[in-house]
Symmetry: C2
């Protein structure tokens, strides 16, 4: 039985189920497990936590099982070669479109943010040049507030789920959790404009996470043929109306998003592979790779167009974002020491950051729950604080005289993206903190990564920068705007990396800019715990292959250190959002519990018969929230079996039952139907629909007395496990095959034994839920946590 609605959000539902438990069971049906009253209150439920912006209302699972009912089998058998080619062709076309659209939208976002933020900063600088400092602050704070407010209002009013990075939800989706309201057209539009607003407002957040989400939204919308209510009913698209193909195309979208964010095609694929996707196939790898190739071609084309200067302040960066290839990397055996130090700092600070972020997100979640106004006020407060810091702090540091070897056009400058910002300094001097703070986030990274500029930044400025971005990074993520995690982490990491580079100056020949790169990489690994995808992303970001071996060592050290403290930031957010994510490995204590014991802790399974009365179906659908019902039958003796023989015919989905009621496919007498009868009534496109509400169905009193032949609509071959199977092994099966329902069959073969012990669903296999139902396991869970 499966997928109880989240107790936190709709606590009433499981209760209803328990109350109606006794009536629910058909007295005529075969004797099932007796309801054990004592165990009743140990019902399995989901984590009672939910984060800002994510009203986890009713979390469903996705279904990757091959549904073998008569109708689908027939549909599949009758597919001609042409249809198969259509399908393959469409898959590639969709991958192409995902890449194309993600590339275009990413360019537009970049164009918008760099121009808005750029002209805003230029205006502020002109105030400063005229020494009208207060006016400058009022202007910059006002514009930032306005931009933040617009982003926040969009999020709060139209799409609460568009707040935050979105990557954890996509990760959960690709794990098989049907995260609600994540891939709609509204979400996408809010995410695009919200992201432009939030990034332009100078908040400490990036557009990388949102771009991944936008890529996935594009993919999902293309795959289903448009927004929910205005889908294109194009015949070809029906092949994609299933969870498997949707999953594949959303993986493409996520990879395209990363690729567009970092202009890193290989890194994008690997990110999708390492961090986001749960299932992975060689063919998928290839299609994902195709999408990201298209993204790169699109980006390159736009950059070439913009190089002629027609895009305002955009397009100076080139295809490689933070190019450090000009510096020759020379390192020796003893350079392992600073490298290891960076790695350790990255690991320690990364896990600390995760820990603090967890606390602050919980705090924010309390504030955000109070209502829309609170959400908005929180965002505006953070924006005001950010503006004050970014504008005010550079006044605290002293001006630095320009190095005489630099030409006057380079130092000092007041242009948008230059190094050596003049700010409030006299001619021939520059303000190093303003260079980092009064720039767009991308420019700040470019400036701090800049190589062969060893004396540019003073330690004090870098320290201020680091402390400021630590504070901002912690307090910005939870506000109700689309926010990426990558950039804040890169900024923090590069600051301490460069600081360390200054400290180590006399010991090593590694450039300070490279130290900044390594610092950024170490903090990413320490917080996000990725390895190979980060490595490739950094390779593609910085275009310096010689850096690869030391990058690898840094990443390995920080991930190891980080992992010994807490899980990755994405896992923390997943947990906060209460999404039932199935881990790759079962917990050790799960080997001590059998699925039979688990089934006992749940309300008894609700079964239907092969030919069932309409009123029973209506009753079951109205009174339960389950999404699948086993079809169990008594077998008539002529089969050569003993009396009392029973058979599990299969599993029927709620959506199909609702379709039956909607179409009023009722029989006057109790009889088996022929295949053609069903085929005439239902198209496989209709049956592929997942959304079906019992509330919309009206059945007359007469019809209630009629029958339905469920056989042709039943998935005849659900996956099963025997009741003696340990939860650990069942979970391996459940996750590897990508199931939604797993039937538990008895291990005894005898008449009188109920043919079904229970059903397992995703919620039942989540460690948290099991420990709630079996408190005695908690002890052993704690003891063996080290495994």
């Amino acid at each position: 039985m499966e997928e109880h609605s989240n107790q936190y959000a709709e606590a009433a539902v499981p209760q209803t189920m328990q109350e109606t438990g006794a009536e629910e069971r058909d007295p005529e049906s075969i004797a099932l497990h007796q309801p054990l009253l004592l165990k009743r209150n140990r019902t399995l439920s989901s984590t009672p936590l939910a984060m800002v912006g994510a009203k986890v209302s009713h979390i469903e699972s996705l279904d990757y099982e091959i549904n073998e009912n008569d109708l689908f089998m027939h549909d599949w058998r009758s597919r001609t070669k042409v249809q198969v080619l259509q399908y393959v062709f469409l898959k590639w076309i969709l991958a192409f479109l995902v890449g194309l659209l993600t590339g275009i939208i990413a360019t537009l976002i970049n164009l918008a943010t760099e121009n808005i933020a750029g002209y805003k900063l230029l205006a502020a600088v002109s105030f400063i040049e005229k020494e009208r400092y207060l006016m400058g602050f009022i202007f910059i704070a006002g514009v930032n507030l306005l931009l933040t407010a617009s982003a926040s209002v969009l999020c709060v009013c139209f799409a609460p789920t568009a707040a935050g990075p979105g990557i954890p939800e996509i990760k959960a989706y690709l794990n098989g959790v049907d995260t609600p309201n994540m891939f709609g057209a509204t979400i996408m539009i809010v995410k695009i404009f919200g992201s432009i607003g939030a990034v332009s407002a100078g908040l400490d957040l990036g557009k990388e996470g949102p771009l991944v989400h936008i890529g996935s939204c594009i993919a999902s919308l293309l795959g289903q043929g448009g927004p929910d209510n205005y889908r294109i009913k194009w015949g070809w698209l029906r092949y994609f109306n299933n969870d498997c193909d949707q999953r594949d195309i959303i993986t493409c979208g996520a990879a395209s998003g990363v690729c567009a964010a970092f202009r890193a095609p290989v890194g994008g694929v690997l990110f999708a592979l390492e961090e986001v996707a749960t299932w992975w196939r060689s063919a998928l790898l290839w299609r994902t790779f195709f999408s990201t190739a298209i993204v790169v071609v699109v980006l390159r084309a736009f950059i070439q167009i913009c190089n002629s200067g027609e895009c305002g302040l955009f397009g100076k960066g080139g295809l490689i974002m933070f190019d450090v290839s000009t510096v020759t990397v020379t390192y020796h055996a003893w350079d392992i020491i600073p490298v290891a130090v960076i790695g350790i700092i990255g690991g320690v600070w990364g896990s600390m950051y995760n820990y603090l972020l967890d606390k602050i997100l919980r705090l924010y979640s309390l504030i955000n729950q109070k209502g829309k106004v609170h959400k908005l006020l929180l965002s505006l407060t953070v924006s005001l604080f950010t503006s004050a810091c970014l504008y005010g702090l550079p006044f605290l540091v002293e001006c630095t005289p320009c190095n005489s070897s630099l030409s006057e056009s380079v130092c000092p400058t007041n242009e948008g993206s230059g190094n050596y910002k003049k700010f409030n300094c006299p001619d021939g001097h520059y303000n190093d903190l303003a260079t980092l703070l009064l720039a767009t986030n991308d420019d700040a990274v470019r400036n701090i990564f800049s190589t062969n500029t060893s004396a540019e930044y003073r330690p004090l400025s870098l320290l201020i920068f680091f402390v400021l971005y630590c504070i901002l990074g912690l307090f910005t993520l939870g506000i109700a705007v689309p926010s990426g995690l990558f950039l804040p982490i890169i900024l923090m990491g590069s600051a301490y990396g460069r600081l360390l580079g200054i400290a180590m100056q006399s010991y090593t020949s590694i450039d300070q800019g490279l130290f900044a790169v390594l610092g950024a990489a170490s903090l990413m690994a320490g917080s996000m715990r990725m390895t190979i995808s980060l490595c490739v992303i950094f390779l593609e970001l910085t275009n310096n292959l010689l850096l690869l071996p030391i990058t690898m060592i840094v990443l390995l050290i920080s991930k190891t250190v980080g992992d010994s403290f807490n899980p990755s930031i994405y896992e923390i957010i997943l947990h906060l959002k209460g999404l039932p994510f199935l881990e790759a490995h079962p917990e050790p204590w799960m080997r001590n519990l059998t699925v039979g014991e688990l089934a006992d802790a749940k309300p008894p399974v609700v079964t239907l018969r092969g030919i069932e009365k309409v009123d029973r179906i209506v009753e079951v659908l109205r009174n339960t929230t389950h999404n699948g019902f086993p079809v169990v039958e008594e077998v008539v003796p002529p089969m050569g079996l003993a009396v009392g023989a029973t058979e599990v015919h299969g599993l029927i989905l709620r959506a199909h039952l609702v379709q039956v009621l909607k179409k009023k496919w009722f029989l006057r007498e109790k009889r088996r139907t022929e295949e053609w009868e069903v085929r005439e009534k239902f198209t496989s496109v209709e049956l592929a629909e997942r959304e079906a509400k019992i509330e919309e169905v009206a059945v007359t009193r007469d019809e209630m007395e009629m029958y339905v032949d469920l056989h042709p609509l039943t998935n005849r071959t659900p996956y099963t496990v025997m009741e003696g199977m340990s939860v650990a092994k069942a979970m391996v099966l459940f996750r590897q095959v990508g199931l939604r329902h797993l039937l538990i069959v008895p291990k005894y073969e005898a008449s009188g034994v109920p043919p079904l012990v229970g059903i397992l669903t995703r919620q039942d296999l989540i460690a948290y839920n099991i420990l709630n139902a079996f408190p005695h396991l908690t002890k052993s869970a704690g003891r063996e946590k080290g495994n």
Copy 2:
């Protein structure tokens, strides 16, 4: 039941099984399916094909299932935190050692080949300088024959499985096929020295494939604690004595091998991921990455040492093998045309090459079967032909005058690794074909990839080079020496790439050297059908990130074109070797067949009872080759069940049964034993042993009458499917979970129904075998092949 020995190699065994079929079944056991005599000859078997050097004697499956018998459960429960830490620590230590040793051995192989081949070529050149051309030929041909002979003798006499690339076998191993004699110490040593001999002999083969195999051998040997007969009995290593951990570490080894071959750490990991590994987990990715990082550090250290000139002719190359980063890549929209042309040529020629290679390998397999002398003679013939071509062909082309802009030290040269070889030319001239042919293979690639040398090679020379290497590439792979596929393909591809570059000279600004790189990439994709790993390998080989977008497009086009003709070269070799590889996707027609029908086509399942007589066990073990036996019991009525109730208690492994007989753990009376009794007798280390021969066990007549309690040794929770499940869905389960045995249970619940319908194994799920047993499916299989 499972894993019939390969009929091709040991045709007698299945026959014995069929003869003894009737006696085998215990008359007391519950009635099983009646043996259907008509169906008998439709027994499922494996492909009747075997390739050179691979006596496919008795192919077993690996077992990745969690074995939940009492003893293992206890062992696992009693593991302390310290033991868990030991295990984790050891995993990392092993990954470190794999990287370290692979790095060292790869360097030594490089050192040896470059010195042997280099001094050989220098000596030949000195003959040519003295115009003693015939002596030069005799010298070079003689040395090559000697080197080939030594490599071939090693392979033929000591390790036939060391011949060939080895990658397909590793791929099969990681898919769950226990490929015999692939990971021993002998194999590794033969592979190392054979590879040195074969590469130094100037044969058209690389050391890349063998290095992957060597890496895997190192990993396997480390994992199991030494060579088969001299294993270290170190307590810690017992945790690794299972198929899962062996699989993980061999994946590390394969990645390290690729990394060492191409000095491409990320490419190595991705190769292991995309091409070799069937199962993949995030944790594994990370450990693999660690191994390759170590390899790179080792390689770098050696290169630094060798840069001082203490390694003879080795060490000039640097960490990046074929560096083309000096050239600035500029390309425009219309460059898509030459790029697409390269891609199409790569796809067409790649699939053509696969097709021809298939034919030639079949032909060679016939020759090689005739005996060791034939194998040897074949190798020597190929060596002689190669020597004649490499030495003779440069005489056919005219000398080219050196470009006046080049200094005299650069052109002409007679040194080992230089461009512009003088050969037989007068001063101030060079022989362009000799530059390519009279060099080590690595140098040849470096020379043909060389950028900014547009006039160096004349089209005729490149054409001769291309045709020659096509012929050599086809006829060299099948001979009995360790041979890699990468290098021949790179040489062929770069030749036509550069030719195309010359043809397109006036249309495009892409350098000819880059055309050569793209050509090599396209042929690799056309033949091996990898995408992302190739992309990264080429990135790391050539150190030019700007080339990435066009490399991606080339790879995508050639793979698409290639895939429309035939499978990848590795799959072709897998098929030739008759290895039961489980594909990622079930064939479409598998949805029309149920596992019940499949079970009917097999001999009836052999079951044991929970408490079994010794003579029955001995009989079963002697007369069958199955590796797992279901334990099925009648349940005594007090359980509240009807009379005739039965239970599938689980599955017991052959290895464990043999252990029971060896240890003589017999009972005088028919009783259940206590857990401590078993634990006293068997350690879990003993039970983890896979090798156990019934022939080595002697049981007295008295003992034959005693009993064994099989309960504690039985895996209580085998995975099961219902008989109505389609083969397609069962295969998904089988492959995803990594099973060796899959029990088929009846879908009826009634007394009198046998509790087990059959067992499925890997061989039963191979499409070829099913089509043999069900010829009527062949028609539909053909019809739907397009899917």
